[in-house]
């Protein structure tokens, strides 16, 4: 089993001089507890651990902090490192050294790869992580969990495959639509309901026969019919011209209707000119969000006369002032949006016209060109001038001094050409009508046109059909791979959920044992294509999802902590080490000792690095785990980092003061300790205590009701509980009674031996009421109408008969 010996951090984040956290005591691996107020550098240790593991610190990256800022400012990136020493047959040491020339890639040494094989699940949990996870969306939770369950690469590939699948599917839909249109145009010419080579060839042959052209067998020979027919058409000037006009008619029908644009241009110019008048204010549009936030912030502030940004007092009505400013900018912003919308729509229209111009411009038939001389000269003009108008319109507002495109010749010409639609179409229709008077020529032109159209249409149809088949094949297979991958990921997640479920329930129910209604949390996977995870809980025997409908923040945090602990236990079975950074922060104070008790009950084989800024929790943990190494970060200094000292627990400190013959110090420390313990035990036994308005109690005011409570609750006929004897000896065999009244008074002379007597005797009593296995003092409990005085795990039961002696 991989065990940590020591963590050393130097020149990293808030740490300058080396900080050593030892995980060995008396030749055996142990855990470490660090106490320090906020800002004393505790979290630099967790940051260091994360950096060593992942080369980056996630929450800092999200805040835009670069890796170059990881080393302590005074070291200039030199000798900034995190080093871990282990006890293991193969893994002895790993070290990450900041790499100045490649800041994202620390220089790693030691058995890093081997270490990573053992440390699968991220084993550090900050208070902020807990908050963040619990309030993540369903989808984010899924990604978070999948990532932490070692499925990050699967997840990335899944997401990328899905994106590709969507894009290719869109392409497929486009070609399917195109295929349908081509099918319709081919069937319209052939008169057949189906489109295939036989029907198309049959149609071409039906025309070939009419003009004594050799019939074809394969579509690939259709060019022969087209060529032969073209020669016949060329030999017939009327048919040739008719074919040209018919082809032009098709193009003209696509060209028209042509939208008019002059009015649109005038509208855009009007909005531009209105905006331009406010040129001075428009530069202030960037402040709109600031004014918007200021309005929201002010609404929440009690003092509405002070500017929330500069803290200066505003003379006048600040709320109204900000609201007015905001309104002006909002109106301007709406106008700017209107300008951009109208301008973009106009650009789109002009670009569409440009494309039409390019198509019609390709006409080559001389007779058509001659007849439509003026039209084609306008088209030429548009082709050369319109790009300039589009460029002008696409310029940014700030780059335009004025906008005057409605009078440009190309714009005016578009409207003129648009108005001539009927006139032009009529000319073409008349031309066709006149040329169609000769039926043979008309049929020839029509047949020739149809042959060209069906060959073009069917060729496009063949391409499109192949493309649809090609893309269908890809999307089908891609979808199968994606679906299989999704199932695999979900199966892995579900398997993990199932595997950790027992521990999850245990941890949550343990932390929330005081609440009988909310219990048995579950992580539910939302299956199918939706990638989501939902938290569920049992509320009065009914499953509630999402769980936080009925949960307090503290309960939700218990859920998050339970997930973390159960997952670490499951994944890191070969590296039992966890870092908990201030995780009890949002827990109610009565629940905080539960975290300590949970570690004792379920994680006794784990090494723990516990960081806290809560003095009471620190005392609780050091009381529960006297074998842990304890550190106090007393202050922080820029040039050195945290001032860190090895810390004794209460018991060790009292003993040290007695050994140093400091009875006043020892007595005062013991007094505070007894006050704390009497309080806990009285609370556990629900001892009635006389209420005092001034809330100042002497030790005896806690102690006497405590003794009475034990006596009342531990009764057997003709018998006496051994603890009653202990209390009697405590009161009569020591100076306790006198000490109770005077321990705070420095003038009172107690000897070290007298204090030692009280201390030793109390420790004997504590051994009788404190369970070292589950780290809890005994408490009063009623189960099925039977009253117990026992510890959390039940191994210490004060009502056992052997604990009573004859009177």
């Amino acid at each position: 089993m991989l065990k940590i010996n020591k963590i050393t951090i130097e020149n990293f984040r808030g740490i300058k001089s080396p900080v050593n956290i030892d995980f060995y005591k008396g030749g055996r691996p142990t855990s470490a507890l660090i106490y320090g107020r906020n800002g004393t550098g505790k979290s630099s240790i967790v940051d260091g651990w994360e950096w060593l593991n992942n080369s980056k610190i996630d929450y800092l990256s999200k805040e835009g902090v670069s890796e170059k800022d990881y080393p302590h400012k005074l070291c200039d990136g030199e000798n900034s490192y995190v080093e871990i020493a282990f006890t293991h047959s193969d893994i002895h040491n790993i070290k990450a050294l900041f790499n100045k020339s490649r800041i994202t890639t620390p220089i790693r040494s030691g058995e890093y790869e081997e270490f990573k094989m053992q440390a699968i699940y991220p084993n550090y949990l900050r208070y902020s992580d807990l908050q963040e996870f619990v309030y993540k969306s369903k989808g984010d939770k899924y990604r978070y969990i999948a990532k932490f369950f070692g499925l990050e690469q699967f997840l990335k590939n899944q997401s990328d495959l899905q994106s590709s699948f969507t894009r290719i599917s869109n392409q497929l839909a486009h070609f399917q639509g195109q295929l349908q249109n081509l099918e319709q145009s081919v069937t319209k010419i052939s008169g057949d309901t189906t489109v295939n080579e036989t029907t198309v060839v049959s149609f071409i042959n039906s025309i070939a026969v009419k003009y004594q052209i050799n019939e074809i067998i394969d579509f690939k020979d259709s060019y022969k019919v087209k060529q032969a027919l073209s020669e016949i058409v060329e030999a017939n000037p009327i048919a040739s011209e008719l074919a040209a006009w018919k082809a032009f008619q098709l193009k003209l029908n696509q060209f028209y209707s042509l939208p008019k644009v002059v009015l649109d241009c005038v509208e855009v110019e009007t909005v531009f000119n209105e905006l331009n008048k406010d040129e001075g204010i428009i530069t202030k549009l960037i402040l709109i969000d600031l004014y918007s936030s200021a309005s929201e912030t002010l609404a929440k502030l009690e003092d509405k006369s002070k500017c929330p940004v500069c803290d200066n007092v505003f003379e006048g009505d600040l709320v109204k002032h900000i609201a007015d400013k905001h309104k002006v900018l909002e109106t301007l912003n709406n106008k700017k949006t209107e300008y951009i919308t109208k301008k973009d729509a106009l650009v789109k229209k002009l670009e569409q016209i440009s494309r039409k111009v390019a198509i019609i411009k390709s006409e080559t038939n001389e007779k058509v060109l001659l007849s439509f001389n003026s039209f084609f000269s306008d088209i030429e003009f548009l082709d050369s001038e319109m790009p300039n108008s589009i460029i002008e319109l696409k310029k940014l507002f700030n780059d335009l001094e004025r906008l005057n495109i409605s009078e440009r010749n190309d714009i005016l010409k578009i409207d003129l050409i648009s108005e001539k639609e009927i006139e032009y179409k009529e000319i073409v229709t008349n031309k066709i009508k006149a040329l169609s008077e000769d039926k043979n020529s008309k049929d020839l032109a029509t047949n020739f046109g149809n042959v060209i159209e069906i060959i073009t249409g069917y060729t496009s149809y063949l391409k499109c059909e192949k493309k649809v088949s090609y893309l269908s094949n890809i999307t089908t297979k891609l979808n199968r791979v994606f679906t299989k991958l999704t199932s695999f990921i979900q199966e892995q997640i579900q398997n993990t959920f199932t595997a950790i479920q027992i521990d999850l329930n245990y941890c949550y129910n343990f932390l929330e044992s005081s609440n009988q209604f909310l219990k048995n949390p579950e992580i539910k996977l939302v299956t199918g294509r939706d990638k989501a995870v939902e938290l569920e809980i049992e509320f009065a025997d009914e499953k509630i999802s999402p769980a936080y409908k009925f949960m307090s923040e503290s309960q939700v945090n218990s859920f998050g902590l339970a997930i973390f602990l159960s997952a670490v236990k499951y994944f890191n079975s070969d590296f039992k080490f966890i870092i908990l950074d201030d995780v009890v922060n949002s827990f109610d104070s009565f629940k905080r000792p539960k975290v300590s008790q949970l570690l004792a009950a379920r994680f006794s084989d784990f090494q723990v690095l516990m960081l806290t800024h809560d003095q009471i929790f620190f005392d609780t943990v050091q009381r529960d785990f006297p074998q842990w190494n304890r550190y106090k970060f007393t202050s922080w200094d820029y040039t050195t980092g945290p001032r860190c000292s090895f810390s004794n627990n209460y018991i060790e400190e009292i003993q040290k003061l007695i050994d140093d013959d400091d009875p006043i110090g020892a007595g005062q420390k013991l007094g505070r300790y007894l006050e704390m313990i009497f309080g806990i035990v009285n609370q556990n036994l629900k001892t009635p205590i006389q209420y005092k308005l001034e809330n100042v109690y002497t030790l005896s005011e806690f102690f006497n009701p405590l003794v009475k409570r034990f006596k009342d609750k531990l009764k057997l006929p003709n018998k006496k509980h051994i603890i009653s004897n202990s209390f009697l000896e405590f009161e009569q065999g020591t100076i306790f009674r006198n000490y109770c009244a005077h321990y705070k008074n420095e003038a009172t002379q107690f000897t070290s031996d007298e204090i030692d007597g009280v201390f030793k005797k109390w420790m004997e009593i504590e051994e009788q009421i404190y369970c070292d296995s589950c780290k809890s003092y005994c408490h009063l409990e009623n189960v099925d109408s039977i009253e117990y005085v026992r510890c959390n795990c039940g191994s210490l039961d004060l009502k056992e008969e052997e604990k009573f002696i004859n009177n």
């Binding site: 990335k156 990328d160 891609l478 791979v481």
Partner: protein, 65 residues
């Protein structure tokens, strides 16, 4: 199981997908599935369809042409 092992296992479990997965494999990298490169290849496949059909329907070169 790492991702490559999953691909290998899927080829065994779904033999009819094997050749497709073999084609997909080069696009999986450490940073994920390189969809853009894959889609460019798909587009190249579409262009090839155009040129294949154009080639197929190209008028035969005979003595006169």
């Amino acid at each position: 199981m790492d991702f490559n092992s999953w691909l290998t296992q899927t080829k065994i479990d779904e033999p009819d997908l094997e050749s497709f997965i073999v084609k997909l494999e080069p696009y999986f990298s450490e940073i994920g599935f390189r969809g853009n490169i894959f889609e460019r290849k798909v587009t190249a496949g579409l262009s090839k369809i155009d040129s294949d059909i154009d080639e197929l329907l190209k008028p035969e070169l005979d003595v006169e042409n």
